[in-house]
Point group: C2
Chain length 223, copies 2
DNA sequence: ATATTTATTGACCAATTCGGTCAAAAGTGA
DNA sequence: TCACTTTTGACCGAATTGGTCAATAAATAT
């Protein structure tokens, strides 16, 4: 919440990310109550004393992660790019804007490979320890205006009768599906490091599906 | 493996299903090592003594579930229906055959609502207790012939250039997506019982996406 | 009705794990 | 050298772990 975790924030960036990612991975896999400090420090490669030195308690650590991800996810789409402009309004074509979002998500996935699993599970955490605080964070963020992907979008480019929101949902499922497909494939193959996902492979697969969808749902003159 | 869990098998069907479903739910959510007996018996509504009376150990119980699901999943598609005939070859139309599979999956999902989560996680269980046995079961089942969805299928009905396997994958992602979408929706709404999924809603959603896909990927003369 | 077998329970067990503490060690900059 | 910050893991009491078992209840057989 109020970021007074100075000792943690002053760590060098790489170490901070490692510690965050350990939490994302372990909490994301087991949930709050089943995730143990031991699991987390083993994953992060630090000592138990250090973790409590940074965050004081398991609860604080979890909520720090939740706050962190909530902020990022909330502004994933509409935050200004490096040039300072909110990029998502520049592109009015569905698939161009989609590519913009894809790029942002890619960078994020590269920095925080396990954030996806965490953010999917955390909001529904029922553990008494953290339930109330999660609701509070949710409430606060719910008040903020969120960017609408369909704002000023050329939806006329879709074939008649096609619901663009369904297409977006479909593509969103494709991206999740592509990730889990590659993950599973690599998990079966025992000689591959399971820890790191082959993003190129995921993107390749994802792009094929998006291309197929575009080809059949867009009017021919806009292909 | 060899089913000598007589005491369990002789239970009346309803109780058996309850006990199986408890395992699917808890193991599916937490994984083998983090799932505790206490969690499971609470979910199943039986005493600790009973569970050990039926299965002797946590490990046996888990492997029984894994064996059970593996067999079901393996023969989900090609098993004969109630009339004794393997139905999946009767229909040569992609979407008709798909409907067949959908119906089977529906019945299964109704009987074992949490089997999906279990079967997704269990094969990758890394706990030393059960790892070797899982591999053995996998090996044995890998030898069995599995039905091919595309066998004797009218793939010519697809528009030129469309890869039917990609379409099947896409639809598979839709079904998973529909489930998790409805699940999430109901989870946010606190006054709904979270335990039971509204299958009608899921199917409705799923059907809309399949209809959209069929409309744009099938040649017009076959719509 | 009675005897015998089967099914079910939860208090209890030793062992482990839990989140958290803290004194000591290591590192850092002057 | 000194003062200060960071890092560590042995250690704590409490809770939880998978598993046992004598007792009880229910069902079945005689």
């Amino acid at each position: 919440m109020i970021d007074i975790y100075e000792s943690f924030e002053n760590l060098d960036e790489a170490k901070k990310q490692t510690i965050l990612n350990a939490g994302f991975r372990i909490f994301g896999e087991y949930g709050y109550s089943k995730a143990s400090i031991k699991d987390i420090i083993k994953e992060a490669g630090i000592s138990k004393g250090s973790l409590f030195y940074y965050f004081e308690s398991k609860k604080n650590y979890f909520l720090y992660l939740y706050e962190y991800t909530s902020n990022i996810m909330k502004h994933l789409v509409d935050d200004p790019g490096e040039d300072g402009l909110p990029k998502y309004l520049e592109k009015t074509d569905f698939f161009e804007r989609l590519d913009d979002v894809k790029e942002r998500k890619m960078k994020l996935a590269f920095l925080h490979p396990y954030m996806g699993g965490f953010i999917k599970k955390a909001p529904f955490e029922r553990s008494q320890d953290v339930y109330k605080e999660i609701q509070l964070i949710n409430q606060r963020l719910a008040g903020e205006r969120i960017a609408d992907f369909f704002d000023k979008l050329d939806i006329y480019k879709f074939k008649d009768g096609v619901d663009p929101k369904m297409v977006l949902q479909l593509i969103s499922w494709c991206s999740e599906g592509a990730v889990s497909l590659i993950q599973t494939k690599n998990l079966i193959n025992p000689q591959i490091k399971h820890d790191e996902l082959d993003y190129k492979e995921v993107i390749q697969l994802y792009d094929r599906y998006v291309a197929m969808i575009k080809k059949h749902f867009y009017k021919e003159e806009y292909l």
